[in-house]
C-alpha cells in the first residue's frame, strides 16, 4: 500500500488556507479508498522551509505525519529545487498520489513533479471522488462552459485543487509525528529562484478573499471606485474588476477577474455594473453565491446570479453598503 502526499505551504502562524483544503481532500480520498480494491495506507504532508509551529496546525485537520524540510542554502522558493525535494520525499516514503493547491505555486510545481515520475496530472480540480476503484477528477474546461470527468492512467497520480472549492473541515489527529530534515540543495536545482516578493500591503487579494466585490464599466471612472471599495469593506472582502475597467487603466491588472485575469471561487461574488461576458464568467462562475447589480434587466450576468438588483449602482451601492454594515458592523 502506498501513501497520499500533500504539499503544504507555510503562511503566518500556520499554513495557507488552501493547504488545509488539500489536507481535507486527502483525508476524504484516503477514507474512500479504504473500501476500494486500491486502498491508500496513510497521508503524509511535506512542508518546505516552514516551522514546527506552522506544521503543528495541520493536526487540527486530521494530518498526523509531516516531513519538515529546511534547505540550509536556499531560503526562497525555487520551483526546480522544490520539485526535486518533493520527488525525493515521495520516493522515500512510497507515495503514489500527490495533491497540491491550484494556486500560483501549485500550478507551477505540480506538473514539474508529475514529469519527474512521467505521471499523469490533472490541474484545477473542483471534485475528487473514487468510483469503481478509480479516482475520478472533475474539472472545468472551455472557460467553465463545460466540465469533464477524467482519470489518470499512470500509477503515480498528481492533482491540483482549485482554491476555495474544497472546504476545509477540522478533525482531530491524535498526535503529530514530525520528521525534521535539514538539507543542502545542489546548485543545479536552484537555477531559478525568487529574489523578491512585493506584497500588496494592506490589500486583500481576490485569490485569498471569501467575498469579492468587483466593478465593471458601469462604474464610469476610477473616481467612483470608492463605492466598490466601501461595499467590499462592509463585507470584509476584496476588490476586483472586469477587464474593461483594467484596460481603461482604472484599476491594476492584479484585480482583474476572468479568463485573462484571475479565476476565483469566493463564497460571495458581487458584480457591480458588469455585463457578464463569457470571459468574465470564466473567472467567477464557480463562486458559491453571485450577487449582481445592473441597470439593464437583460444583462447576461443575471442569468448566473443567485441574487440580483436591477438598478443604478450609483444609487444602490451606498444603500446596500449601509444595510450590509448593519449586519457585519464593519
Amino acid at each position: 500500500m502506498s501513501k497520499i502526499l500533500l504539499f503544504l505551504e507555510p503562511f503566518k502562524d500556520g499554513l495557507k488556507r488552501t493547504s488545509y483544503e488539500v489536507i481535507t481532500a486527502g483525508r476524504n480520498l484516503l477514507e474512500k479508498s479504504k473500501s476500494s480494491s486500491k486502498p491508500y495506507d496513510s497521508m503524509l504532508g511535506v512542508l518546505i522551509n516552514g516551522t514546527e509551529a506552522q506544521a503543528n496546525t495541520a493536526k487540527e485537520y486530521g494530518l498526523s505525519n509531516i516531513v519538515l524540510i529546511n534547505i540550509s542554502n536556499l531560503s526562497n522558493y525555487s520551483s526546480t529545487a522544490y520539485a526535486e525535494i518533493i520527488k525525493n520525499v515521495a520516493k522515500e516514503n512510497d507515495a503514489s498520489l500527490l495533491l497540491f493547491a491550484g494556486n500560483a505555486t501549485g500550478l507551477e510545481l505540480a506538473p514539474r513533479v508529475a514529469a519527474k515520475f512521467e505521471a499523469g496530472y490533472i490541474s484545477d480540480c473542483i471534485g475528487l471522488d473514487i468510483a469503481n476503484d478509480e479516482i475520478i477528477a472533475k474539472k472545468p474546461v472551455y472557460a467553465g462552459k463545460a466540465q469533464i470527468s477524467t482519470k489518470i492512467l499512470s500509477d503515480f497520480k498528481v492533482f491540483s485543487l482549485r482554491p476555495n472549492v474544497f472546504t476545509s473541515v477540522k478533525s482531530d489527529a491524535s498526535d503529530l509525528n514530525l520528521q525534521t530534515m535539514n538539507i543542502q540543495i545542489d546548485e543545479k536545482f536552484s537555477k531559478v529562484i525568487v529574489k523578491d516578493v512585493i506584497k500588496n500591503e494592506g490589500k486583500l487579494d481576490v485569490l485569498e478573499a471569501d467575498i469579492i466585490v468587483s466593478g465593471g464599466r458601469g462604474i464610469k471612472g476610477p473616481e467612483n471606485y470608492h463605492l466598490i471599495e466601501n461595499l467590499a469593506a462592509a463585507f470584509g472582502g476584496a476588490v476586483g474588476a472586469s477587464r474593461a475597467v483594467v484596460d481603461a487603466g482604472w484599476r491594476p491588472h492584479s484585480e482583474q477577474v476572468g479568463q485573462t485575469g484571475k479565476t476565483v471561487s469566493p463564497t460571495l461574488y458581487v458584480a457591480c455594473g458588469i455585463s457578464g461576458a463569457v470571459q468574465h464568467l470564466a473567472g467567477m462562475s464557480s463562486s458559491k453565491f453571485i450577487l449582481a447589480i445592473n441597470k439593464d434587466k437583460d444583462a447576461p450576468i443575471f442569468k448566473v446570479a443567485d441574487y440580483g438588483i436591477i438598478g443604478d449602482i450609483f444609487e444602490v451601492l451606498p444603500k446596500l453598503t449601509e444595510k450590509v454594515k448593519n449586519f457585519t458592523g464593519k
Binding site: 508529475a114 469533464i148 441574487y307
Partner: protein
C-alpha cells in the same frame, strides 16, 4: 537568439460549447478556432526579443493539419519559421510536451516561450512539464520579462502580490496578459504568410497519461432572486445573504 514559441489551437473564446456525440469531447461543427490568446503574448515577446537581439523565431504547434491556420497567423505576425507536429488523434498535455521537447532537443533554443494555459482544457502544464523533460529552469505566468546577456528577470503575480524571479538562459517562460501588447498582423503579411512553408513532422508516440470519461455542460442551479432597487428590495436581498446564504 534562437527562440521557440509554442502555440496551441483552441476554440474562439465566445464559441458556444456543445458536447459531441462521443460524450467526451466537444462538437466541433461550426466552431471557429484561434491561436490560444496567451500564446499571442508569447509570440509578441519572441518577436521583440528578436528585434533586440537578432536571431530567429520558430513557432511550433502539436495538432491536426487544420492547425496550419494558427501557424499562419504566427507567420503573419512575423515569426520566421513554423513547425507542425501533425497528429489527428486526441492527445493530452504530456503528448504535446514530449513532442515539443523532441523538437527542442534538435533546435536547442535559448528561450522557449509559451502561454500560461490553453483556454480549452486549461491544463496549465505544458510549460512545467517541458521544463522537466529538458531539465531547464522555468517561470510560469510572467507579466514582465527582462533579459540582459544570460541573466533573466521575470515578474509574476502570486496571491497577495508579485514575485520577482531570477534565472538564466536557456529557460522556459510562460506568458500572462500584461507582458506586452500583441501586434495585429497587417493584411499584406497575412497574404504573404499564406504561401510560406510550414515544416511537418511526425510525432513520437507516447502512451496517454490521462483519459476523459465524460463531458457535460454544468447546470447552474442558481437561486435567481432578481429584484428591483427599492429600499425594501435591497433589504430583502441583504436578508437573504444573511438567512439563506449565511454569508453575513
Amino acid at each position: 537568439m534562437n527562440i521557440l514559441v509554442c502555440i496551441s489551437r483552441v476554440p474562439d473564446t465566445t464559441t458556444r460549447i456543445l458536447v459531441g456525440g462521443d460524450g467526451v469531447s466537444i462538437d466541433t461543427q461550426g466552431v471557429k478556432f484561434i491561436v490560444n490568446p496567451y500564446d499571442e503574448y508569447a509570440i509578441e515577446e519572441g518577436l521583440r526579443l528578436r528585434e533586440k537581439n537578432g536571431g530567429t523565431v520558430t513557432a511550433i504547434c502539436v495538432g491536426p493539419d487544420a492547425a496550419k491556420e494558427q501557424l499562419r497567423t504566427a507567420l503573419a505576425m512575423g515569426v520566421d519559421k513554423a513547425v507542425l507536429v501533425k497528429t489527428d488523434k486526441y492527445f493530452d498535455s504530456y503528448f504535446a510536451a514530449k513532442n515539443i521537447a523532441e523538437v527542442s532537443k534538435e533546435m536547442k533554443p535559448d528561450i522557449i516561450l509559451l502561454g500560461r494555459q490553453s483556454i480549452d482544457f486549461d491544463s496549465f502544464q505544458v510549460p512545467s512539464y517541458l521544463a522537466e523533460l529538458l531539465e531547464l529552469p522555468s517561470v510560469s505566468v510572467v507579466s514582465k520579462l527582462t533579459i540582459e546577456g544570460n541573466k533573466v528577470i521575470a515578474e509574476r503575480d502570486v496571491e497577495g502580490g508579485k514575485e520577482i524571479l531570477e534565472t538564466e538562459l536557456p529557460c522556459i517562460i510562460s506568458a500572462q496578459k500584461g507582458l506586452n501588447e500583441p501586434r495585429y498582423p497587417k493584411l499584406p503579411d497575412i497574404m504573404k504568410a499564406k504561401s510560406k512553408p510550414i515544416e511537418e513532422k511526425q510525432p513520437v508516440e507516447v502512451e496517454p497519461k490521462v483519459s476523459v470519461i465524460g463531458m457535460e455542460i454544468p447546470s447552474r442551479k442558481r437561486i435567481g432572486k432578481i429584484l428591483a432597487d427599492t429600499d425594501a428590495d435591497i433589504e430583502e436581498i441583504v436578508k437573504s445573504l444573511h438567512e439563506e446564504a449565511k454569508i453575513i
